[in-house]
Symmetry: C3
Subunit: 285 residues, 3 copies
């Protein structure tokens, strides 16, 4: 993959203002909505089963996160995913706390089998979803990103999704069509205060959906290299904003405010300053 044009990708989000249907946990709905607005997208948290499919048909992207899912939300997600898949609308799975409890895990695994465009989680979640780890205990990452690159590649190969592993250095992984090799893009710049603001991971998944939706409205495919680029660009946007916020804030309350500001004001130079590394890996047999 060539170095992606992050600035162009961000501009696409701002100009297309993608409408993102968020079926997500109630803890982070407000934060996620504000994050989407800050990057130029338009949030809608519609999660009633009676209306979810109809809304998914007009949404530009969908994000699914079962962090506090009610039975109604599970039904709404089923309906929205079905529409998104058949319409070719990008949908992103955030497998929060997969592996920790049985019922939620079964629902997340079922969703993962339905062709998500991207999956974003922390190292423990990605390992658990790939079937190789013990799962998180809450929303913590107890595994490290480096430990789960192989798991991420296997998950990408099994689902077709771009798989993003969040950590101090993020890893974005896409298995190749041969099923044996995978590309890995490392996005640096994570800050220790980021995990102390609840919803940063969940809202990054939503922004990932917005970047994929903007790519699609520009006529780009949301598979292969251009999907990988869109996911990387979303992560770069977050990393750049985190870097900016850390210049002025040293504690989580003021960091959250500065981060939201920085998502909105992020300039070209800040995006281009984020450290990107490209490396290949193998998909474990």
């Amino acid at each position: 993959m060539a170095t992606p044009d992050i600035v162009k990708a961000r501009n696409r989000v701002r100009s297309s203002q993608p409408l993102i249907q968020c079926i997500t946990n109630t803890v982070v709905q407000q934060y996620t909505a504000n994050v989407l607005l800050a990057v130029g997208a338009s949030p809608a948290m519609l999660d009633h089963e009676a209306d979810a499919a109809q809304f998914a048909a007009v949404a530009s992207g969908v994000i699914i996160n079962f962090g506090t899912a009610s039975s109604q939300q599970f039904l709404a997600a089923d309906a929205a995913i079905e529409v998104a898949v058949s319409a070719g609308t990008p949908w992103v799975l955030d497998p929060v706390s997969v592996g920790g409890v049985d019922y939620r895990t079964s629902r997340i695994r079922a969703a993962a089998r339905r062709n998500p465009t991207a999956v974003r989680g922390n190292a423990s979640e990605i390992a658990a979803l790939a079937g190789m780890g013990l799962g998180g205990r809450g929303v913590d990452a107890t595994d490290s990103v480096d430990d789960v690159i192989g798991a991420a590649a296997a998950l990408s190969s099994a689902t077709g999704a771009v798989v993003a592993v969040s950590g101090e250095v993020d890893a974005i992984v896409l298995a190749g069509p041969d099923g044996r090799s995978a590309q890995v893009v490392r996005v640096g710049g994570g800050h220790p205060l980021m995990p102390l603001v609840i919803g940063n991971g969940c809202s990054l998944a939503a922004v990932t959906s917005a970047y994929l939706a903007a790519a699609k409205s520009a006529g780009l495919p949301i598979t292969g290299a251009s999907a990988l680029e869109a996911v990387v660009a979303a992560h770069v946007h977050f990393a750049a904003a985190g870097h900016t916020a850390a210049q002025t804030a040293q504690a989580p309350g003021s960091f959250a405010v500065a981060f939201m500001d920085a998502l909105y004001t992020v300039g070209d130079a800040e995006l281009e300053a984020v450290d990107l590394r490209f490396e290949p890996t193998e998909v474990p047999a």
Copy 2:
């Protein structure tokens, strides 16, 4: 209508501390509660169907918003509205995203037929509820305020409610008893950052309920001119706070913080500086 005494109206809210029952979407519950506290009201987000009617009987005002309504919330709203109407307690409908999806729309329309004291939405929502527009796509306003003054007047005539249309310049509309003419009050001072903070519209609906409740506890009628004045005063309070916040904040994270502060600290001169214009309009046949 004479120029309303906004300062007196704000003081009434602070001294009566109206208890506002908010059956509203989970995205904005926290923000709405903080906004109500900042203006001097007391929030209660009670939305269980078993208790909603009993609580509505002691509430000073009710606000209904179906943005993420569960089946339980719909039942709770039915019960609370019935009590509010029969007790003469002001209740405000925020028809968020009406017209976008069928089930929610049917529930909003049913609620609108139950004598809301006021309805507050963006231009697309007001047009959709009045049956003249195509509805919003999410919480965006795709129509302009000017486009929907006639629709707002028709909605006011049909429901008896004061109808508030939020935009860069808000329009507050009340149809006269003859059903053909309507008063329109324009409240200036909206700021481009306001729509980038999720919950500003929903919490304005809650504050509108607080101003109506405070008017009622002062012995004023919550129909006709004094209802119109209370709704205008709530919008002026928001506009003044937005103006103050914009003096110090240029991005949505810090704007939200400054806005909350300004709702709390807003002074007499700031309220009186908000631009108000009065004009008549006709109710479309």
Copy 3:
């Protein structure tokens, strides 16, 4: 009780990072999660009835608050409490708005009979739960802390819980084994802006659970004097952060941000500067 070592207690929370299962109202989930992260704990808002018991078995502490409880949340709470009690995991009841409405009140009373480790509420809630008051109207305290010390002592005697009454000066009450005398610890330093930030009370209950969980993981009993100390320490942490926040913030928006920062940065000297008073009381017959 000797003066508790608040610094050591805070350090225990930071080093043990207790995982706190929060079955709490949707208004304050985000704020509570951020507060738990700021003090060094790990939040999980898991509230689905299918998974609640399984998760409670791995949680370090549980907090129950029925502020917006759905029927699903009531079932989840039943399951989580049962596991917590049989595993000896500390669980804290926040009886928000008990006494105001019948169904919620019946559920809160039923929970209170299941051996909570601590109960935290405002004066009206504690009085109502003890059966001696008229209950709150929303989340307001209409009684004063001083009025309800006897009620708190009776509630402590009846349930075995440490009972914390929040107010400008908090009172933490523990009835002795004789059922007639009780210890009272007063924690000063509350600030008038604290009740204007929604979720401060609910999140204090969650932090109380974190302090109890940290005590337990250090091998301390979570009954008697060491439970009392843990509850006091949580309240001191809050009071110190409130005091720090009030140095820079004069309105609720910026106060909430400064308070979150201060929870995270709170130093030894700030904790030790909080005013503590010890006094005995009697349990009313």
